[in-house]
């Protein structure tokens, strides 16, 4: 009888342990690995560079109307990147929130070094709020473990940037993300479904590596009036009047049409099509 009880206890212990082992520990400070696309992640994308993005017609016009002077307005100076973009820019800190008695996982928190934005990923099975609840830059996120992968579903995002050159992501978007740890490396994959501004889902992928000694930093932001404008001033370009749209194509001698984006520009076969398009250097004279 004693042996039987011991076996049951051992079995339960093993099963519980196995279940816990299926979850990764993501806590710590993760440093952005910029080797893959430094220019895009820190300085940001160039004006007029929409190639490889599944933009629809509406988003292309939105992007081409965007004027970077918008960021000079006090009400925009501290605008943060939304949760589906913020991880892309800098290091992140991750920590767990657990029930102090049962140690059940309630939530996983992340904080982006840039903007100091704090995000909560609820792990306790709660429902998403109703559609008429507030939408925020971080949105409302719930997570679940798929093996070692943390799968996150986010709703209630307000409109934000898909990329910070004026490409929009609407407040109707839903986002699915995966945090996947491989030892001291962390991979973040985000899939944006936006019925308003995207022809197909947009997928972004970033890598981080674990830091043993980095400390979190603050990111205070205080708006100031830099240029006095009339109340209600919103800088933008009228249709067809944006002078910056050709700079990217001209600089890299890329066919202008290839910079306009669209789902078809995401796929490898588009390279052959793009090769046949006239380059800016060929269009001069």
């Amino acid at each position: 009888m004693y042996k039987l009880a011991s076996c049951i206890v051992f079995l339960c212990s093993a099963l519980t342990s196995a279940s816990a082992m299926a979850q990764a520990n993501l806590s710590g400070i993760w440093l952005a690995n910029y080797t893959e696309d430094l220019a895009d992640r820190r300085p940001g994308p160039a004006l007029g560079d929409y190639g490889g993005l599944p933009l629809n017609e509406a988003n292309l016009l939105r992007a081409r109307s965007w004027n970077a002077s918008l960021l000079g307005l006090p009400e925009y100076q501290c605008r943060v990147h939304p949760s589906d973009y913020a991880n892309s820019h800098n290091n992140i800190r991750i920590w767990e929130e657990r029930n102090p008695d049962t140690l059940e996982l309630i939530a996983i928190h992340t904080q982006h070094f840039t903007w100091q934005t704090h995000r909560v990923i609820w792990m306790d099975g709660r429902d998403h709020p109703p559609p008429y609840a507030e939408h925020t830059s971080m949105g409302f996120s719930t997570g679940e473990w798929v093996g070692h992968q943390l799968k996150i579903k986010t709703t209630h995002l307000k409109e934000g940037w898909l990329r910070r050159n004026g490409v929009a992501r609407s407040d109707q978007a839903t986002v699915t993300e995966y945090f996947i740890r491989h030892g001291d490396s962390l991979n973040w994959t985000v899939i944006v479904n936006d019925p308003v501004y995207l022809e197909e889902p947009f997928i972004r992928n970033r890598d981080y590596f674990y830091s043993t000694d980095t400390q979190p930093v603050t990111y205070p932001c205080e708006s100031v009036v830099e240029i006095v404008h009339e109340p209600g001033y919103v800088p933008h370009y009228l249709m067809g009047n944006n002078p910056d749209l050709f700079e990217f194509a001209d600089t890299y001698d890329i066919p202008y049409e290839a910079t306009l984006g669209g789902a078809h520009t995401m796929y490898p076969e588009y390279r052959a099509i793009a090769r046949e398009l006239p380059r800016p250097s060929e269009m001069q004279d």
């Binding site: 016009l61 939105r62 009400e75 501290c78 507030e134 939408h135 307000k158 501004y197 919103v234 933008h236």
Partner: protein
């Protein structure tokens, strides 16, 4: 397609008419969204209702349709057992004032003790801009039973009351959605109820027959933005309860202002080039926002006509 637009237009006209105050709302639920402290948002049929509760009683902003009143009263009873003291109307459209009569009758105003019934009648006070009073008392189309009329109208830029330990500022927004729009700022709670000068679910309805205009709508958006102080970036802090749609914050109203500005400027440029209204509509100057806000023809027409 034209028939669909015509039908939609008819439905919208009916919804915006005060006469459309009775309807079949049997399947509509009133849902309560806690906003902050003692401020709540009620979502049902018609415009959102803002509720403030406290020891002195209940104050609501807008009343949806008369046919929703029993459900609205039941929702208010869930929030407080105090009497309904004040109704503030943001404008005169039926989806915002339709419930004035039954809700005012269910309420009880603060007045001179035991003289109340004899002198003032036993209804809640109704506050609105005087344009609202004029429209629901002088128009045969919009005529409402006197129990639902504003008992306290204002004609200057603002009107202040202090209720439940909170300063409440009611600010007129000239020639915006209509000529009698008010936004209501709960100063301690840091919440603004704005009626239909801002919404998240569709393009704005500019009621040109009632004095609305695109520039007034933009000025109203700026008035709201001027009052908002976010916690950080464009999130949190002052919250905005729209006439229709979801609870909002600074970033949402900025996006709204951006949309209004871009479309206003594009239509103005086309109009300056001599384009007719039909040519402007055919040029689709709102096509970057249409997937978000829906059909734009009525909105573009109002923009064109009021520029």
């Amino acid at each position: 397609m034209k028939q669909i637009f015509t039908s939609l237009g008819l439905i919208l006209c009916l919804l915006c008419s005060p006469a459309f105050s009775q309807g079949d709302f049997a399947d509509v639920e009133v849902r309560i969204l806690p906003v902050r402290d003692n401020i709540f948002m009620l979502v049902g049929a018609g415009g959102n209702i803002t509720v403030q509760t406290g020891d002195q009683g209940i104050l609501i902003v807008d009343t949806q349709f008369a046919g929703m009143s029993d459900k609205i009263l039941a929702a208010l009873a869930e929030l407080s057992d105090a009497p309904l003291r004040y109704i503030i109307n943001t404008h005169f459209h039926g989806d915002h004032v339709g419930g004035n009569v039954p809700l005012a009758r269910a309420g009880s105003r603060i007045s001179g003790g035991n003289m109340r019934r004899d002198v003032t009648g036993d209804t809640a006070s109704v506050i609105a801009h005087e344009s609202v009073l004029l429209r629901i008392t002088t128009s045969n189309e919009n005529l409402m039973d006197p129990d639902g009329w504003p008992t306290s109208s204002y004609f200057a830029g603002k009107k202040d009351i202090y209720f439940n330990g909170e300063g409440i500022r009611i600010m007129h927004q000239p020639r915006a959605h209509t000529d009698g729009d008010s936004i209501v700022y709960f100063r301690r709670s840091d919440v603004i109820a704005v009626g239909d000068v801002y919404r998240t679910d569709a393009y704005p309805f500019i009621d040109t027959s009632a004095g609305g205009s695109i520039q007034g709508l933009l000025d109203a958006a700026q008035s709201i933005i001027d009052e908002i102080i976010p916690v950080y970036g464009q999130d949190g802090g002052t919250l905005v309860i729209p006439g229709h749609g979801r609870l909002s914050n600074l970033g949402d109203v900025l996006n709204w202002r951006e949309m209004l500005t871009l479309i206003r400027d594009r239509v103005q440029a086309m109009k300056d080039q001599g384009m007719t209204l039909q040519e402007v509509i055919a040029a689709r100057p709102s096509r970057d926002f249409d997937p978000r806000y829906g059909d734009s023809e009525r909105f573009l027409t109002a923009v064109y006509e009021t520029l």
